[in-house]
Symmetry: C2
Subunit: 266 residues, 2 copies
């Protein structure tokens, strides 16, 4: 295995950084080329249009998510549910992750108008709901969960954590770009912070509530409620080494970025 | 009371129609002027920039939501929760509502970069979470709900229905615009429909699941589970007459549009 990332991985990391820095609508092929130190003509050699490159990027992100889910496929079902919920949790000051998710949310708004983007969104939705449904089904079979409508429960869990993330990122004033940030944040009373009266970010509050309100009642008698903290730890960048072990990613130099991304999205 | 809508209401309905037709990024002041049969210079006389007009529009939508919530403030707490959940439910073929919400979602992605937009989003978030928390608190006081963390429950309910709506609209191929729709939908196997294997739209599935999984366990003994169908009916355009009674809206001619919008959104 080489320590050099492949050209394709380098380009995908460039897309990731360009989306974070410029957003979906404003990121240009030149921005992406700059972010991965390639020429714009090389990018165009591989990807005719920005749309094509972004579809390839969505494919890359979702494939990465499939891999991360697969890595935990043999963990106990209750722990896997906590991992799934924990995957969506991030702190209010996770500026890079927030900027990336805002760009992805912009991209998602293109779903109704662009069939190729929509195909990727549908694939991601099936991955997310399918993963939760599989975890539930295997837990029911193993006797650790009560019998329950797995598809309905999966839709609820996915909607809750996705909704919490959308609210956390759109209500945040932490992304330091644009006219809104002139004047400086935190000068006395914060009138624009969304969740400023809570001591927990939206994603964490909702993941914890989901675990106790929706997951706990599903547990069979005697099954211990899984730890959200453990679930978060299992799904965060620190397990990048584990991904490396899977032998699929060789971009050691870029791992910081790729690991930081580290979540399904859309 | 006059049957003529005020100029401000006409402009707001123009914004609504322009957002639906063109999306947030592409709607121009000219599009909005065309949609409300005003001159572009009149629009600019009232609103310096498109940003200013859109902030006024968000304010208008949220004020409308406050009014709709207020209309039901005296209903029994359990029914009010079903109304809240039902408010977010719409069918997969509600093309206009979907197009409007896609435009609002685009607008929401501007939150981190634009303080004035963010202020409105924060106001809407406080309205939504505050409404659910108030309903829960009054139900606990009345003895119809068990004692529960009202803020956490409110965050969960809001995230779930908002997340379901975002997923329903972004996964949908029903908005008939752009290259994605060329070729025609429903020609044989649908490979891009998001929730095509379900017989219920995402918002309905999640609202029902939330009602049974999160709300029902909160009910005190003997309190009947409220009907989602009734909740939906209470919050849909058919109650536009009720709004008219409140004496605040006089745009009878435009009511179809305004009523159709009929939901908080931000």
């Amino acid at each position: 295995m080489s320590d050099q990332p492949s050209a394709a991985d380098e380009i995908m990391n460039g897309v990731y950084r360009a989306l974070r820095a410029h957003g979906y609508a404003d990121a240009t092929m030149q921005d992406i080329a700059d972010e991965c130190s390639k020429s714009k003509s090389l990018l165009h050699y591989h990807y005719d249009t920005k749309e094509e490159l972004l579809v390839a990027f969505l494919d890359h992100v979702i494939t990465d998510s499939e891999r991360r889910i697969e890595l935990h496929a043999d963990d106990p079902p209750a722990e896997r549910l906590a991992q799934f919920l924990g995957w969506f949790v991030f702190e209010a000051d996770a500026v890079d992750r927030e900027a990336f998710h805002i760009a992805l949310l912009e991209l998602r708004t293109q779903g109704p108008f662009n069939e190729r983007i929509r195909e990727q969104l549908v694939r991601s939705d099936r991955l997310l709901r399918g993963t939760v449904a599989d975890i539930l089904a295997s837990g029911i079979e193993a006797g650790v969960f009560r019998d329950v409508d797995v598809d309905e429960t999966a839709a609820l869990l996915v909607a809750a954590v996705d909704g919490a993330r959308t609210r956390q990122i759109t209500l945040s004033g932490d992304v330091d770009v644009g006219e809104g940030s002139i004047g400086g944040p935190d000068d006395g009373e914060d009138t624009t912070g969304g969740y400023d009266d809570a001591d927990s970010p939206y994603t964490r509050t909702v993941a914890e509530a989901t675990l106790r309100r929706v997951v706990e009642p599903l547990l069979a008698e005697g099954v211990e409620i899984p730890s959200l903290a453990d679930g978060i730890a299992e799904m965060t960048p620190e397990d990048a080494g584990e991904r490396e072990d899977a032998g699929e990613r060789e971009d050691a130099g870029e791992r910081g970025d790729a690991g930081e991304r580290g979540d399904v999205d859309e």
